[in-house]
Amino acid sequence: MTVDTVGRFERALEGLEVGFERVPAADASERIATIVEEPAVGAPLPFEGVTLPESVTTEPTSADLEAARTGVTPAGFAIAEYGTVAVESTADGAEAISLYSDRHVAVVAESDVVPDLSAGFDRLADGFAAGQDSVVFATGRSATADMGDLVHGVHGPGDVDVIVVEDR
């Protein structure tokens, strides 16, 4: 992992019109709090020293999920080349939380940003070997051109932000 990789990730996200923030672990919770629009739901973040702000409901009910403006989830890793975050299908509901809200905020450790798709597949293979064998590569915002013009936010989120935790 090099600074160049994060730079490449940032440029890819910029091309996808996805928000990008790079913050130290100590500031992450506060930064998330400023980004989320309430009501917000989330899956617990596994990064040491990073917790979800109080405004984010974990273990949401299906009513919470349906009403949520924002869903915050961790990403197992990210692929700089394409601006992709890997959201894992875990029992805490990360997949549904990242999908049902209007805005998805993905939080990823800087050490988990890999340069390209090949490196992403290496990480995917490691996860499969460890039993994490259901993963979504999410790149940018949900989109369709089926109604005659490109529209974002169809079944999935129309806004996406990625927060890179620089010291994790």
Partner: protein, 763 residues
């Protein structure tokens, strides 16, 4: 389905050109352009395509083993695999899953009708799953916006990736406003999308079963991969507690690592995106909690008892692998390649005929575009392929687009051949029998036999020219030609020359005289000798470009021979007459063998004949013969480029003033051979500033544009090209067809580039 007559087909195509052509062209041509950019931007594209193809070859080769492997993997994960023999088998299984699920768990949502939500799946279109489920009392809702529009409109997909591509926004708005009568009429794409999202969200939340397709299935981990942009497939898979994935058996690939090149390629080839929005890799049943929207106050992570769940989610997963003819395709040496298809639609988007009529014209019962001929012949039978197979003109532009390098034109040629052989012998076969020394059994369409034997026709017409030309142009004869051979009377017929190129060459002294002329040229120490191939058109119709080629080569110091050589088989191939083409390829190779042994270079003026030698002959000749001819044959301007690069002096040629602008349309098959660039380079070396067309094909495609049922389509395609080049003072084109089409539309001469270059002092 009974095949349409020529005039029914003409009406059908005219209707599509008027109603759907504009919408399809706008989107398909834009996808095509974006795919080109994405391919150009990827530095390892060719390696990816090669790798993807080899994975598919291997996977199809050991498909029975992979089915066993995936069964073990899915069952180990806690799911079920069902291999369905055919559509009825698959549909009955899915209906049974829905029944069992609703009997055990009750019906989700209001009402007492079981319901399913679906994400886009051409495979379920193939088996008419929706009709079968509805007949079983199950409510079906499509959630891909395009598919849902079609469901509301009771319409069918016109493109394998963009199913509602043929509809304009205004048409969708009108449909929704009429059907749903919203408080405020819907108008913009945003409004329509928001309305659909809200409507479909309710259905997804209340569904008993979610049905998806699968783009790829990883056998050894039981992982299905869904590639989408909207996110509906994720919702269908994750929301209801039962998920059924339906995939053709050919979607199996061995290992997770095999998935990588496909994930990298599929969005690039489909829409020009570097990667799709969502590449979902699920090894179900997954750990994601099911979503019970009818119990809104319970945490989604809770178990059935309301307490926080520590057990895996209670999910049910069924993978239905569909055969429906695929295992037979696997045994068919000509159709097997079709199974490598990843359904990206790049062949449709690259195809000028598809761009003009869309999949409702260029498609069968389910599939559309060039590869559809293979799919329809394999899963629905040859009759379905026969409906549209003629629309593939063999232009071959899809060959560069296909991410797994399928020879789509060859599949179309082979299926056309099989269709020809199944047709009943017509009572009027005698009309063309005398003119058609082919290897075909009776029964093939008369027009096809006529065009497939054009060399013999041309020889006879040349021998009797100009009388044959006057006769052919007479009104009663045009009527007869239209009725019997399907030649549209609006099309100018080629004028045959009384003196063929071969005769002209002999009359001016043959190879001895050519050697003397070449020796008088500047000596660049290039010790080569050329056999100029007198293709049918260059020999009998457009002899001037042949003469220009001879004079140009001589002026550059190269002695030329123009022997009377057999046809290449191109004409026969275009009509699906493979046996005839096979015999012609053998004869031509035999006739050239001595020249090849003597180290002479074979130079070809007509790109389509060179393309036969460089592409189709691989199927027709022994490998060594094919490679020997391919490696020693050249397109005329490519050859001139080589001579100039090796020191030949261009001052012997006609040169422009250094910046004379000209419009140049390369030939479609020439582009696929990567031979547009040499012509451009030669023109630039000789003082011209060529502006190349971006149109992939002129639409004439040999005989295609002459046929009554395709004349209007051919002109529609040709006009796009004509508009691009009309402003230039000089327009040149490499192919006979391209020249004919442009001359007809622009009403002026469109010569071959070699005619611009030939020395001004004509000998």
């Amino acid at each position: 389905m009974a095949q349409r007559t020529h005039s029914q087909q003409a009406d059908h195509i005219r209707h599509l050109l008027e109603t759907e052509g504009d919408a399809v062209h706008a989107k398909a041509s834009s996808f095509h352009a974006q795919r080109g950019e994405a391919y150009d931007a990827a530095d390892d594209l060719e390696a990816l395509r090669t790798e993807a193809r080899s994975i598919k070859e291997d996977a199809i080769d050991r498909l029975p083993d992979l089915i066993d492997t995936v069964r073990d993997a899915v069952e180990a994960n806690g799911g079920t695999v069902y291999v369905a023999d055919d559509a009825a088998d698959a549909n009955a299984y899915v209906a049974d899953v829905v029944d069992t699920q609703t009997e055990e768990h009750g019906i989700t949502g209001d009402g007492d009708t079981p319901s399913v939500v679906k994400s886009k799946s051409m495979t379920t279109e193939e088996i008419d799953l929706n009709d079968a489920l509805e007949a079983a009392g199950i409510e079906v809702t499509e959630t891909d916006l395009g598919e849902w529009v079609l469901q509301v409109a009771d319409d069918t997909p016109s493109h394998i990736v963009g199913p509602a591509m043929h509809l304009e926004r205004a048409e969708i708005a009108e449909l929704f406003n009429e059907r749903f009568d919203p408080d405020e009429p819907l108008e913009t794409a945003e409004e329509l999308t928001q309305f659909a999202r809200d409507y479909l969200a309710d259905h997804i939340q209340e569904a008993d079963v979610g049905i998806t397709g699968a783009n790829f299935v990883v056998a050894d981990s039981g992982t299905i991969t869904l590639v989408t942009n909207e996110g509906n497939a994720r919702k269908c898979a994750v929301t209801p507690d039962t998920h059924v994935a339906i995939a053709g058996v050919e979607k199996l690939i061995p290992r997770l690592s095999d998935l990588e090149p496909f994930v990298d390629l599929i969005a690039k080839s489909a829409t020009g995106q570097s990667i799709a929005q969502y590449v979902t890799m699920l090894s179900p049943p997954t750990d994601s909690p099911t979503l019970e929207f009818d119990r809104p106050d319970e945490p989604i992570t809770a178990g059935d008892d309301g307490a926080a769940n520590t057990e895996p989610a209670d999910r049910d997963f069924h993978l239905v692998l569909l055969d429906n003819g695929r295992m037979d395709m696997r045994e068919d040496d000509q159709l097997r390649e079709t199974l490598y298809c990843i359904r990206c639609g790049a062949c449709s988007n690259s195809c000028v005929n598809f761009q003009s009529v869309g999949g409702h014209g260029f498609g069968g019962e389910t599939y559309s575009g060039g590869i559809a001929t293979g799919w329809e012949a394999g899963v629905h039978g040859q009759d379905s392929a026969a409906e549209f197979n003629d629309l593939c003109t063999g232009c071959s532009r899809c060959v560069d687009a296909c991410p797994v390098k399928i020879d789509i034109p060859w599949i179309n040629t082979v299926v056309r051949d099989r269709i020809n052989r199944n047709e009943d012998p017509a009572a009027t076969d005698f009309l063309v029998d005398g003119l058609t020394p082919d290897m075909e059994d009776g029964g093939i369409d008369l027009g096809k036999r006529f065009f497939g034997n054009i060399g013999t026709v041309a020889k006879a017409a040349s021998a009797t020219a100009p009388v044959s030309n006057w006769l052919a142009d007479a009104d009663p004869i045009r009527g007869l030609l239209e009725r019997t051979l399907g030649i549209d009377r609006r099309r100018d017929l080629p004028a045959f020359q009384r003196e063929s190129l071969v005769d002209w060459f002999e009359k001016r002294g043959g190879k001895a005289a050519s050697s003397r002329r070449a020796a008088r040229a500047d000596d660049a120490d290039i010790d080569r000798e050329v056999v100029l191939y007198p293709d049918v058109y260059t020999n009998y119709v457009d002899t001037e470009r042949g003469k220009a080629a001879v004079r140009t080569l001589e002026a550059l110091g190269i002695p030329v021979r123009v022997p009377d050589l057999p046809e290449s088989g191109r004409a026969a191939l275009s009509q699906g007459m493979v046996a005839t083409a096979d015999r012609q390829a053998s004869r031509l190779y035999a006739a050239l063998a001595e020249d090849l042994d003597a180290g002479r270079d074979v130079v070809v003026v007509e790109p389509s004949d060179l393309a036969a030698m460089h592409r189709e002959y691989e199927q027709l000749l022994p490998e060594r013969s094919f490679e020997r001819l391919r490696d020693n044959s050249y397109e005329i301007c490519e050859y001139v480029y080589g001579l100039l690069e090796n020191g030949a002096n261009p001052s012997a040629l006609s040169t422009g003033d250094g910046a004379e602008p000209i419009a140049y349309h390369s030939h479609c098959q020439q582009r696929t051979l990567d031979l547009e660039a040499p012509t451009v380079a030669v023109l630039e070396r000789c003082g011209y500033t060529p502006d190349t067309s971006s149109a992939e094909c002129c639409g004439m495609a040999g005989s295609f544009g002459y046929k009554r049922e395709y004349y209007e389509l051919s002109v529609d395609v040709g006009e796009r090209l004509a508009e691009q080049v009309a402003g230039a003072k000089t327009v040149v084109a490499s192919g006979t067809s391209c020249g004919d089409q442009l001359e007809g539309l622009l009403e002026r001469d469109v010569p071959h580039p070699i005619e611009l270059l030939e020395p001004s002092s004509r000998l």
